[in-house]
Amino acid sequence: MRKIWHRRYFIAATARANLKVQHARSYLGRLWLLLSPLALAVTYFLLVMVLAQRGQPEADYFMYLTSGIFAFYFLSNAISSGSNSVTSASGLILQQPIPALVFPLAALFTAWKRFAPALIVLLIGSVALSTLNVADLAPIGISLLLLIVLAYGISTLAAVSQVFLRDTASAIPLLLRVLLYTSPVLYNASDLPENFQVVSFLNPFFWPIAAWCSAWGQGEAVAPFNWLVATGYALIIALVSTALFLSSEKRFATHV
């Protein structure tokens, strides 16, 4: 951990570099980080609020849907880039001794930097539509923390898997699609048919996303059981993936 802390500036600089490289040859550059969530929010606003032409309940649904989509994109970005983070750093790994955990952490920080403008869009939207209460801030903060821990855990696991099994990167988009449909993003968690509940229970995304979306969109906290499962999933996955990563790290240089 001391070595990782010693590389904190490297993690931050890598995240900045990743964003720069991703937008290197685009005219608007990093402005897209704000424009993309804004355009997505406007699209959903038009679909839910204007075309449907209903009142306040649709404002809640709009916030629920948009916050869910943004949270899912954050998880999806973190996992996709995290899975390639070690293999794409083969040059550095073969050049100098470096704690490899910095690479999934840098990928996570990159995903966070992409997600931060979306948070601003969400805040502006919720203030404009009067859907946010002060009491919602605590569940929003806690569920955000759980989303970050979960993103770290799964992306670290994916990074190890990708080193030893290159099929991982191809399987991840498929897995993410399944996770999207079994997470309460496009529908409310309470609307889930009974026969789908087992599938959702197994989905680690389900619980923090349900808490996150409910806080943004409905102004009411989810049940304590939901928090318990969300916390359990996030912590267990983060701990197991860290242990697996550290125990496999010594073999990375011969497999990247």
Partner: protein
């Protein structure tokens, strides 16, 4: 900083050695380990032939302040041993103890990102080594000056020639203090004039009481820079001694 990779879990008194290697062996994993073809072959009863070790039961002590060359033909295990000393590769048996801060000049151009400028790449590679941003900032102009690439320093690396990339990589890697410098063919960086400049910088480093472990195919550079060395053959250590003796033995093979 002291690094200990110890299969037996023991730290020992290493005298005045900056690098102590005890009974180190290393095997690369068989290729194709992740392919379906290999799974199929296994199901059909074929097993992987055990590869010869790239480094085979090597024990060696490199004294503090030495300029030490690892000499041998291609495939002798020189670069693998250097990477084991650096802590990049972990040996399956034995241990390596390095006293002090390590700097590596290994695969100089590998870690650069093409879309980033020379300046950004230098900063990123120094941060990866654990350097503090303020120390990097203080040395950036010196690195730019030493590399002699002028305003190209602010341009993306993708616009550089391979010689320019080598120059900037060498400048960056040798601009920060270290106790042990590990060098793998890095003196091949740039044109003849730059090679001479690089050798002078190496000599400066050595005279500042650092230790150097070097792998190079340039017999002339090795004789000029190094005072002692080891000869490797198919992963085994066959000779350790004064550099002229080691080079004479190598060249007679």
């Amino acid at each position: 900083m002291s690094r200990l990779t110890d299969a037996r879990g023991k730290d020992e008194a290493h005298g005045r050695s900056c690098v102590t290697i005890r009974d180190v062996s290393f095997w690369y994993p068989p290729s194709g380990i992740r392919s379906l073809g290999r799974v199929k072959a296994r199901l059909q009863g074929h097993t992987d032939a055990r590869l010869n070790p790239a480094v085979d039961s090597i024990s060696l002590a490199i004294p503090h302040g030495a300029t030490f060359a690892l000499v041998g033909k291609n495939g002798a295990g020189k670069s693998t041993l250097l990477r084991i000393i650096a802590g990049i590769l972990r040996p399956q048996t034995g241990y390596v103890h390095v006293r002090g801060e390590i700097a590596t000049l290994v695969g100089l151009n590998m870690a650069f990102r093409r879309e980033l400028t020379g300046r950004e790449n230098v900063v990123l590679s120094a941060l990866a080594r654990g350097q503090h941003p303020q120390d990097i900032k203080a040395r950036l102009e010196l690195i730019k000056e030493f590399s002699e690439i002028g305003e190209a320093f602010e341009q993306p690396i993708r616009t550089y020639s391979s010689g320019m990339v080598s120059r900037i990589a060498f400048s960056a890697a040798t601009s920060f203090p270290a106790d042990v410098l590990l060098v793998d063919e890095a003196l091949a960086a740039g044109d003849q004039k730059f090679k001479e400049k690089a050798e002078r910088r190496m000599q400066d480093f050595i005279s500042n009481s650092g230790s150097v472990v070097m792998v190079s195919h340039s017999g002339r550079a090795i004789r000029r820079l190094c005072d002692s060395g080891a000869l490797l053959e198919r992963g085994k250590l066959t000779m350790v001694g004064a550099i002229d003796d080691v080079m004479n033995e190598y060249e007679s093979q």
